[in-house]
Amino acid sequence: GLFVWHLKNTGIRQVPCRFVHLCRVANDRLITFQYFNFLKRMYVTQYNKDLSQRAKPKSDSVASPFRELQQLDQGKKVIHKIRPISPVHQPLSETSSRNELREMKSAAETDESVTPVRAESKEDRQWKEMKLRLDDLPGVLARLSKIKLTALVVSTASAGFAMAPVPFDLTCFLLASLGTGLASCAANSINQFFEVPFDSNMNRTKNRPLVRGQISPLLAVCFAASCGVPGITLLTLGVNPLTGALGAFNIFLYTCCYTPMKRMSIANTWVGAVVGAIPPVMGWTAATGSLDAGALLLGGILYSWQFPHFNALSWGLREDYSRGGYCMMSVTHPGLCRRVALRHCLALIGLSTVAPVLNITTWTFPVISLPINLYISYLGFRFYRDADRSSSRKLFFCSLWHLPMLLLVMFTCKKSFLEKEDKGDLLGGNHGRAMEIRLP
């Protein structure tokens, strides 16, 4: 990942040390932003840095920071691997590239962040023709639909499907995933359509396609319609009407409630949490066709997860929110922000305990998930008490791996419906056999 990317950009080798120094001296926040910008560049294609907006499925940023973290780990691993190359055989290019890597490693984030930002800003300063190029179109649409976030939304819906106590139906699963994905693309596109001037003013979102004029608003709306309508139709007709209704409702909630509310009241966070909680419910209803307690529990887990995730994230973006006019708890009610995050970390423990009661998982689930739930609660408590940047970042990054791990553990502890059926069969079988004996 990292190594390959850097070799590709060997044109921009010489990063003046002075610049690196400046970056070191610069504001901590600036480095962080550039660091994240760099991680953004690590992706060959577009990348949605949704750190500033809500990080939740179907809204923003969940995917990006999560993936960033993964890539970073990979990058670090690569660097470590390159180092032990024997110094005997050293062609010039290898040396220079290794030097670059060493330089990079020593300057760590700052150095890396400088190069891509400079390359990007050079491109940025040019005037561009507002013409839609067909070969750019896939990239532009991927960024418009926040494809990585959509992928995460689809995976939470799949988790909901997988946890449902019914035999696994592959066709239904694929249709549900596709429908959810299309609905998410539509919702994200409309969200970007509504937020152009605000996105331009926030560091995280200023490179979105509509902001950069890479696509016209009309085309964005048409794309949204051409994703949303087939998506919801697919869910309604191909899966079941309940799932379709939930999908349509979620699109409405996200685009017409959450997006405008972001600028009106802090209650947007709660609405957004519901938006994030609906996809797993959709997965469940796709499998079973009904809204059981299990669906609500899964939705509840995702709902509670949104708060530590988003509140921690928004803590570092208060300046951008304040200037951009976004009403977020972290700006207007900081105490509430931290309290709610902690409260919901603890709620996760409670919800995990309810899961076996509802026969969704075995009792091993609350036991195994307790360590990770306690850890995130601990970080939530630290955030509540310290209220500083480092505790908020720790909580945010923890939330990124906490959710996939929790869902994975949940799946492995899933109470097999076969168990129940077997018991039933056993009794029924015996009965049947007994009957057979009596009635030849």
Binding site: F193, N201, R212, Y321, C327
Partner: protein, 145 residues
């Protein structure tokens, strides 16, 4: 943008408003509908530019004043020994952010309403223009076939 170009051109973000200016291409055969669209877009651009430039300038100015007053209250100078500008940390700035947001709330509400209205109008006009162009093209195709 080159003189012979027949497309709109979009530039780098403005220093104050962070919005990207667009230079619109005025076609000699511009229909009244297309002219309405272009004028709506120009007007919207001007409004947005004006609002955000003013708003961002006010933000930076008030932020400087806040930092200055806080530093004064603490008995510190604006620039320390090395000549670097002293800054407040995020927790101290939080009061300013909260204040600024609540002060500008009504302004944002008004802007939001205007922005949504303008956005919908422009997109709708774009749709009309696209439809008219498509019909014209179909008619031309039919004539030639």
């Amino acid at each position: 943008p080159p003189a012979h170009s027949r497309k709109d051109w979009i530039g780098p973000p403005d220093k104050h408003s962070n919005l990207r200016p667009v230079i619109f291409y005025v076609s000699p055969e511009e229909s009244p509908l297309e002219r309405r669209l272009r004028e709506a877009r120009q007007e919207a651009q001007a409004c947005d530019q004006c609002f955000w430039a003013r708003h961002n300038r006010a933000f930076h100015q008030e932020k400087e004043e806040f930092i200055y007053s806080r530093l004064k209250a603490k008995g510190l100078e604006v620039r320390d020994e090395t000549g670097q500008k002293a800054t407040l940390n995020a927790e101290e700035m939080a009061d300013f952010y909260k204040d600024f947001l609540s002060k500008n709330f009504r302004k944002h509400m008004q802007y939001n309403r205007d922005w949504y209205k303008r956005n919908f109008t422009i997109t709708f006009l774009m749709g009309q223009v696209a439809l008219v162009r498509a019909l014209r093209w179909l008619r031309w195709k039919k004539k030639n076939v």
